[in-house]
């Protein structure tokens, strides 16, 4: 196990190198000049030249990449072109928001998705199944933007239960977590249903029932545990996705998260910020997937990593 984890951790390095090359190349391909965006329409040539020089943008692209790589290896993610702050500081400010939101959202989607999926699978072809299927279809299809604004309209403007966006208190995170969780829960519900249906057909479930075990125990102890592997995979992916891709939720609810940092960074052509944030997202993605793989072994003791 230890050897396996070590091997997986060592794999992070090539992944990060790949991500660095990819994001750097993509950013270079996008037209637009960071200095022009920063300094605005009124900027003089002198100011533009100075900004470019300050951030090494006047160097050949290959040199820029090597400098970035050397610094990144040494733990220095560079300075933001827009705010002239260290990228590491900006990420450190944003990451906790994103982590909290992603965590709460995954709780919401677990509560909604797994329960709906089990109910649907155990009462196959009933009205409840149909409702769960339909609900998840709606959940997948609803744009987050629309759902977020609708939730604000109902729970902030009409009922005044929760603040309409912003951050600061725990109540600020309720609506965003619900919105983000709802969209993942749809995927998870469908996966749970499919996986449970598969498992419920197995011999050992029939055996468990034949033994006279209570239906509850059959479902939760025997079936669900075995159905968990594909569900966990989706959890891992959704959680990873929420870390960098919750930008729509973050924008609607004005949360200063990592997703927004990346998207605003792209609009501003703030290369160091985008590259730094991509590294963090990629690292966490790899770590979350590693944790998922380890969790497989917990749910299915037959799985061994050697």
């Amino acid at each position: 196990m230890i050897a396996y984890i070590t091997r997986r951790l060592l794999l992070i390095a090539p992944v990060l190198l790949g991500v660095s090359i990819g994001s750097f190349a993509l950013l270079q391909l996008v037209p637009g000049d960071p200095a022009m965006i920063l300094a605005g329409q009124e900027a003089t040539e002198e100011v533009l030249t100075r900004i470019r020089h300050e951030h090494g943008l006047d160097q050949p692209v290959a040199i820029q990449f090597l400098v970035y790589l050397r610094n990144a290896v040494g733990g220095n993610l560079g300075i933001s072109i827009q705010s002239r702050q260290p990228v590491a500081t900006l990420i450190a400010q944003r990451f906790p928001f994103t982590l909290r939101l992603a965590f709460l959202a995954i709780l919401v989607s677990a509560a909604l998705g797994v329960v709906a999926g089990i109910v649907a699978a155990t009462r196959r072809n009933s009205m409840l199944d149909l409702a769960a299927l339909l609900g998840s279809l709606v959940g997948i299809s609803l744009p987050i933007f629309w759902l977020g604004l609708l939730m604000m309209l109902v729970f902030s403007v009409r009922l005044q239960w929760f603040p309409a966006g912003g951050s600061g208190t725990a109540t600020h995170l309720v609506l965003p977590a619900l919105v983000l969780g709802a969209s993942s829960s749809a995927v998870i519900a469908r996966m749970t249903r499919a996986s449970m249906l598969e498992v419920l057909r197995q011999d050992y479930v029939r055996t468990a029932r034949a033994k006279g075990l209570r239906e509850q125990i059959v479902i939760y102890r025997h079936a669900l545990k075995n159905a968990m592997i594909p569900i966990l995979t989706v959890f891992g992916l959704e959680f990873g996705y929420n870390l960098g891709g919750a930008v729509l939720t973050e924008t609607v609810f004005s949360l200063p998260g990592l997703g927004r940092l990346i998207v605003e960074g792209i609009f501003a052509r703030d290369y160091p910020v985008v590259q730094g944030a991509m590294l963090v997202v990629a690292t966490t993605f790899v770590l979350v997937n590693l944790l998922t793989d380890i969790a497989y072994a917990f749910f299915d003791p037959r799985i061994r990593y050697e």
Partner: protein, 518 residues
């Protein structure tokens, strides 16, 4: 020495449409205390006024810092940290008499030394971003006594007071600049009615009242400026009571919000001009008749009425009425017949053109370009409309003349100094061709250059205004743009909030007088 306290442009303003300023229902007694939450569209770029290059930064800076001279809400100049000023006959030496007993938020004294420090900083080696406003103009500053500063210019400069009223002319505590250096951007120290508390990047800036403010104790205890990118989210925050003040309300939301008795929606004119730049180096746009025809084709009144629902005004030339130096001249009427005639004379009875517009950078920019596209089609000019993301658009419209095939492209310009010389020089002077300057259509006219130069070097106000008038007339005749409109800024507040300043430079901020009902 002549005294020129409080230059006035009221004469020009009276001529323009009446300004819909917020009028409180009754003269109520201001209430003290409370926190005002202001939701704005973007995070400040910096809180060091000499390095701030964006409106979100400028409007926060204006609550904490002050200039020697300031704009009032009608863009007239009035005394700020200077009580009075005068200029020598040759226009080269300005003397400022400073307000006494003013202190910076860090307790150090505001005096002539602090003002000299400001000039030394912008003229010196540090070269903050906005230094370029001052370096071409100012030679040096000297302390005459504690409350008197003398500034020597390199050349007479008609708009000198306007660059002093610019957000970048704010006087910062020298002690703070020495202490923080580059990090002054995170630790602003000025003399304004509000003091800095904290800035959580991407989220909010908090300020608290400055009890030692020379203009009297501010009414509000605290101001919280929140970054809320999404237009609809800001509207919902106003409706839910999570924000007291919001900016950039989408036009389609205005009628609904106006009906709601809980809110005040203020639509006020700005200094911004929107226009479609014509690349005059491309045929057939080198022919003035073609450019004039394009101008006659557009129905500006219909655009203002239908598209902007009157939250805009028609402008005759390149300058908006709220730029100091605007001249009331007659522009192009909507005359499709004349447009066709001019095109026929130019040998182009039908024409295919490429039209570009940003989408979402200016109020209704893309819709505006679509309206122009339809009007052009009506006179036989078929325009294909395409858009680019703003960052790419800025770069694409600034390519040098031999590397571009751009023809017509929509742009907006709000001169940050609030006057028409900066509304014309960077855009239309032949020395300012892109990519060096902002003359993105490569327009060149010796007569226009001379008029702008005359305005630049003017030593009296009448001379400056006269030269600017001449420049605008030449621009209208030569039609380097399709002249369009000046959009309003649309700000919403809770009815409980009073005395918010909406400066036509698209800056919204609070002063010591702003207050909020309990």
């Amino acid at each position: 020495m002549r005294r020129v306290v409080g230059l006035s442009l009221s004469a020009m303003l009276l001529g323009s449409a009446a300004l819909p300023m917020a009028v409180p229902t009754a003269a109520q007694q201001a209430v003290r205390g409370g926190t005002l939450t202001f939701a704005t569209g973007a995070d400040p770029d910096s809180l060091d006024p000499q390095n701030t290059q964006s409106n979100p930064g400028e409007q926060v800076n204006r609550m904490m810092h002050e200039n020697l001279i300031r704009f009032n809400a009608k863009m007239q100049l009035e005394p700020g940290l200077a009580e009075s000023w005068s200029v020598s006959k040759d226009g080269l030496t300005w003397t400022f008499k400073l307000r006494k007993g003013v202190k910076f938020h860090d307790g150090t004294a505001f005096d002539a030394k602090a003002v000299k420090y400001f000039f030394d900083r912008v003229l010196g080696d540090e070269k903050p971003f906005k230094a370029s406003l001052y370096t071409p103009v100012v030679q040096a500053a000297e302390v005459v006594d504690d409350a008197t500063v003398r500034v020597r210019l390199k050349q007479p400069f008609g708009a000198f007071l306007f660059i002093m009223a610019h957000s970048a002319g704010a006087i910062v505590s020298p002690a703070a600049h020495q202490k923080w250096g580059k990090d002054l951007a995170l630790h602003p120290v000025g003399t304004g009615p509000f003091k800095f508390v904290e800035w959580v990047k991407g989220d909010h800036v908090t300020m608290e009242r400055n009890d030692a403010y020379w203009g009297g104790r501010p009414n509000l205890d605290r101001v919280l400026v929140k970054t809320v990118r999404e237009d609809q989210s800001r509207v919902l925050m106003l409706e839910s009571g999570d924000a007291d003040l919001i900016v950039n309300i989408p036009t389609e939301e205005i009628p609904r919000l106006k009906k709601d008795p809980r809110f005040t929606i203020e639509s006020s004119p700005t200094a911004r001009a929107l226009f479609i730049v014509i690349n005059v180096k491309k045929k057939p746009f080198d022919d003035v008749r073609v450019r004039q025809a394009l101008n006659y084709a557009v129905n500006r009144d219909a655009i203002v009425k239908e598209l902007f629902q009157n939250n805009a005004q028609v402008i005759p030339g390149p300058v908006s009425p709220l730029q100091n130096g605007y001249a009331q001249l007659s522009g192009y009427a909507h005359d499709p017949k004349k447009a066709r005639e001019l095109l026929a004379q130019a040998g182009k009875p039908s024409l295919r053109v490429k039209l570009w517009s940003p989408k979402g950078r200016f109020v209704k920019d893309y819709e505006l370009a679509q309206a122009v596209q339809q009007d052009l089609a009506a006179v036989g000019v078929e325009a294909t409309l395409s858009t680019l993301e703003w960052g790419a658009y800025l770069a694409a419209t600034k390519a040098p003349v031999d590397q571009t095939d751009r023809e017509l492209f929509l742009l907006g310009w709000s001169p940050s100094t609030g006057e028409a010389r900066w509304g014309t020089f960077p855009l239309l002077h032949s020395s300012q061709f892109a990519p060096k300057g902002d003359n993105r259509g490569f327009f060149a006219s010796r007569a226009l250059d001379e008029a702008i130069d005359k305005a630049t070097l003017a030593t009296t106000d009448p001379a400056r205004l006269g030269a600017l008038r001449e420049a605008q007339q030449i621009a209208i005749n030569e039609a380097p743009y399709i002249f369009l409109i000046s959009p309003n800024m649309i700000v919403g507040t809770s009815k409980k909030v009073r005395d918010v300043v909406n400066l036509p430079l698209e800056l919204t901020y609070l002063t010591e007088k702003s207050w909020k009902e309990k």
